[in-house]
Structure formats: structure tokens, C-alpha cells
Symmetry: C2
DNA sequence: TAAAAATACTCCATAGGTATTTTAT
DNA sequence: ATAAAATACCTATGGAGTATTTTTA
């Protein structure tokens, strides 16, 4: 009869590569782990591990059992998370990943609010680009991710938080300053500064422009929105700035002219994501509501 | 710490509705089950069961844990199935469901072949309509289903076995007999006899016709292809007959005229389905190959 | 021959059984 | 009052520890 304990030990063995280290990781002794792995092999009637001078290597069957075992152990954890959420929601550790083009603008308002609302919640933040966040989320290193939708795959669920439009940022003396809005077509004649590759915001900005013709992209690619804004302020070109960055990046010193686009673009959709199998969906949905509120309050 | 044992007992309790019967189902005594359920509640810190004079009722949290627990137990079973398949493939019980418009034509050739190839395989057959087969498959009462693709949902995987074209069957003296093929458009002027509702073949036949105009459906709806053919032979109308039924239903006594359609229709696609989480995919894929072969041999 | 895993054996935690009490209607 | 579940208590299984042997490159 297969037990969770056996699956735990086998997956630890697959990760550690040898019995002694795996046993240490499980806080038991090597013979204890050996025995359970043997019992599992016996119970399944299949050899799962090849023992050699240089440690333990999974057989093909072993790999498959580890793969399935990991999923099962995750589901069991999800039950425990779910129960914890039922017992006392919004307590304990919560690992939230955010993309760099949201973090600096939303978190300064969000974190104090969350700490006030849920004093027992221990928020661990991690700022990375979409790809890495999704990997971390899928592999259980994160509980939540805050990023721009949509994301592919049906193993993740999301709540839409708000829409974040693009504004045009230009140097103060720029012709764009003369009108109340900037025509989308006018961007084609400008040197457009964007973020470096890997930022989803870069692709979204390009998508907005490409709707209206070729992009005359500047030679420099910024590593952050803050840098990008500095480049614009220095007269190197113009850029598309997400609305949520306006308050912090625009400043009040007149070094930047900011105008809305005509016609108004739909902008990027910001969402909160979690694993479909997560046990804390109810909490996450409530959190999504709070984040929406904080963002709305921020704009007023 | 949650254990599989505790999940098993809790799901048994949810199904039985009271502790004594649940315990009996688990082949243990009532106190043993009571203890484990209590330990689970204690471990999760959540009340899962409401105890009353009339037995046990799950709380909302209990329902959720049962739901998740069932999935976990299924996955554990899948590991065991997978291992069994590794150890000695094609042995033991295999529950195969087939739709009635495939079974009678494929199984008479398939069953002896499978028995010869895999003498240790114990095939249990079940003939039902698509909807019921899919339910049974999803709920684990079947291991495999043999039916017409596509089917909705990503919880099932399939292998395409072969294409099964439609032929036109008419009474011997019918004008259709004069030509080598029947024009699809000509069907609109005929009384078209079809199976009763619920048979996917009925919908597929209607789809083929609807490509080329309205259907003049006869008043009778047959409960099986065999009946349908009898009705056609009696001169009540014409029908669309799947190619795989030809050999058995056409007979050689000249009571039926069978002609291909022009233009040739793609026909229905026959596939073998299993749960995505099944542990015996390798065997199932090999079985799919065998079925394809048997069908191909049947046509020659 | 040296590192790694398996075996031998002992101990203790825990699952399960029997008898009985408590609870709920 | 009575069926149902919980509790008390005992037993047996099995998981883990220590010491040691066997395996393998």
C-alpha cells in the first residue's frame, strides 16, 4: 500500500540524488529512508531507483512515480492550506510575486493597507519578470503573482484587478505639450524609448503602437521605468508610460510632459494569479478585491 | 499530518452517511474510523463532520476536503495502476466501454484478437451511448472508452483509431441503385431514416446531410443500426450507414443497395479515450494500435 | 578500499480491536 | 429510550533509531 510518507521520501531521494542527504532533508536516518523506499518498490512491484557507487538514480518508472507523487503531495498541501484558510484566514506566510512595472507603483500603497487589514499576514514579496514569476508560481515557490493578463495555461486561475492605460511621456519643450492629447499616429515620427527585452510592458507598448504603423524605436533600452523616465526627461525621446506609474514618475518639477492617447487604448489588464489547485482561493479573491480598491484610491 | 488513510476514511464517511457503515466499508470498526476522522479534523484544525442523531453530515469544509481527497486517492490509485502496467502489462481487469454503433461491428473481430495477444487481460465490455460512457470514464467506472471523436474536456486523452465514412443504404429497387455513387444533394428528396436521439451517429449523419440542405427525416427512429437496416430493406426509406457496419448489415441476399457518397464525406473519427491521469497510458496506446490494425484487416 | 546502501535488532508511536460510556433526538 | 458516536484501554503493527554488514566502482 502506497503511503504519502513513501512518496515524500522518494521525491526527496530524487532531489537529493543519494540516500544520506535525502534522509537528512526528511529529518530521518538513512536506514529509515532506505526501508521506506524499498517498501514502496516492493509494494508497487517495480524498481524505482538504481543504486550505484555515486548515489541513487531514478529509473524511468521512478521518474514517473516521482512526477505523480509530487503532484499528490502538492494536493495534500493544498488541503492543509485550505484548512488553514478556513480556520484563520489571512494569517501566516504568503509569497507574492510582482512584475517590476507594477511593484514600485502599487506596493507602497498596498503593503501598509494589507498590514493594517491583515496584521497576522506575513507578506513575502518578490519582484521578477512575468516568465520567472509564472515558473515560480507553477512550481510552488510563490502563492500569488501580480502581473499583466492574459497568461497561457489552464493550471492557473486569475482575478482581474484593473485596467492600466498607456500615457505618452515627452520632454517639456516637446510639440506634444501643445495639445491636450497625443494622436497615436504621431508616435511613428518620434524616437520611442522602451524597456529592455523580457519586460511584458515593452511588448504591450509595442503592440499599442503597431496598431498604428511602424515603430521608430530609439537605440537605448532602459532596465527600469524610472530609468526610462530619466531618459525621456533628458530629451532622448518619448515613451509610453503606464498610468499607474504617473504619480510617482511624473514628479511635479515640470521635467516631463504627460498626455493621454487618442484614440484611447485599452491598455494592459492587471491581474492576480494563483494555482488552480491552491487551497486558499477564497482568501486570494478577497485580496484581489483589496488590491483593486487600493489602486482605485490611488488614482483619486 | 494528513494521511491517505484519513482521507480514505473521510470519503467513505461522506459516502456512507454514518460512521458504522463507513467503518464497515473500510473493513475496520466504528471506533477506529471515528478516531481517524477526529485526528484529521484535529490535524486540519477544522470541523469536517456534523454528528447528529441521524448520522454524519459533511460541513462545507468537509465537502471540500472530501472533494480534494477523492482526487488525491484517485491519483494514488493511478500510481499503483501505472506500476502494475510496468510490472506486467496487459494483465488483470480492463473495463472498456463502447458505443452501440461501433460495438457489434468491431468487437467480434477485436475480442478474439485481444484474447490471443494478451491472454492475461480480462476484458470487461460495456455498451452505452457516448454521454454515459464519458461519465463512467470520468468517474473511474471504466478504464477506456471507444467512441466517435471529438469529445469535450481536457481531463481525457485520446488516440485516433480510424476514420469511418458514411455510405448510403437504400432498398434494392431504389433509383440510387442505378449509379455507382449517390450525390449528397439527392438525399434531400428522400425519406431519411435515422437512429433515435442520444446516438452520436444520428447527429453525425444529420451533420453530413445538413451540409447540403434540409433533411427530410422519416417518421420512425430506430433503436439500433440493425433495426434501421431492416427498415430500409423494407422500403421505408434510405439511411446513412457507417462503413464499418457494411459487412455485417449489408448481407449478401441483395436486400440492400449500398453506395458511396459524392463528394466523399470525411465521416466520423473513431478514437480510444482514457483519463489523462490514468496510470496505464502506455498500454492504452498500444491497444489503440491493435484496434486500428484489426479494423484495417476487417476492411480487406 | 572507501563511500554508500542494506540489514539486524530494538524501541516506541500509532492504528485497530473490544468493552463501555456519552450524546442527541 | 435508543441508536449513534465517543471514550477507555489493550494489543499489534510498523516506522525510526543505533550498530553493523554488504555492495560497488
Amino acid at each position: 500500500m502506497v503511503s504519502l510518507r513513501q512518496l515524500r521520501y522518494l521525491t526527496a531521494l530524487a532531489e537529493a540524488g543519494n540516500f544520506r542527504r535525502a534522509a537528512a532533508a526528511c529529518h530521518i536516518t538513512q536506514p529509515a529512508l532506505s526501508t521506506q523506499v524499498q517498501l514502496l518498490e516492493e509494494g508497487l512491484g517495480v524498481s524505482l531507483v538504481e543504486r550505484g557507487r555515486r548515489g541513487a538514480v531514478m529509473t524511468a518508472a521512478g521518474e514517473e512515480v516521482v512526477r505523480r507523487g509530487r503532484a499528490i503531495l502538492e494536493d495534500v498541501e493544498a488541503i492543509e492550506d485550505y484548512a488553514r484558510g478556513m480556520r484563520d484566514p489571512f494569517t501566516g506566510p504568503l509569497r507574492l510575486g510582482v512584475i517590476p512595472t507594477i511593484g514600485p507603483y502599487l506596493l507602497p500603497d498596498l503593503m501598509p493597507d494589507l498590514n493594517r487589514r491583515y496584521p497576522a499576514l506575513q507578506l513575502f514579496m518578490r519582484e521578477e519578470q512575468t516568465e520567472r514569476l509564472l515558473d515560480s508560481l507553477r512550481e510552488g515557490r510563490l502563492d500569488l503573482a501580480l502581473l499583466a493578463l492574459p497568461v497561457p495555461g489552464d493550471d492557473l486561475e486569475s482575478a482581474v484587478l484593473f485596467e492600466d492605460r498607456f500615457l505618452v511621456a515627452a520632454p517639456p519643450g516637446h510639440p506634444f505639450a501643445k495639445a491636450d492629447t497625443v494622436d497615436l499616429g504621431a508616435l511613428a515620427d518620434e524616437s520611442l524609448l522602451l524597456l529592455e527585452d523580457g519586460h511584458c510592458l515593452r511588448d504591450q507598448a509595442l503592440a499599442v503602437c503597431a496598431l498604428d504603423g511602424p515603430v521608430n524605436e530609439g537605440d537605448f533600452r532602459a532596465t527600469s521605468l524610472a530609468t526610462l523616465v530619466q531618459m525621456v526627461a533628458s530629451g532622448l525621446g518619448v515613451t509610453l508610460l503606464p498610468e499607474m506609474a504617473r504619480r510617482r514618475e511624473a514628479g511635479t518639477d515640470g521635467r516631463l510632459t504627460i498626455r493621454p492617447l487618442t484614440p484611447p487604448e485599452p491598455g494592459r489588464q492587471i491581474g492576480l494569479l494563483w494555482r488552480r489547485t491552491s487551497g486558499r482561493k477564497a482568501e486570494f479573491r478577497e485580496l484581489a478585491g483589496v488590491i483593486s480598491e487600493v489602486h482605485a484610491a490611488q488614482l483619486t
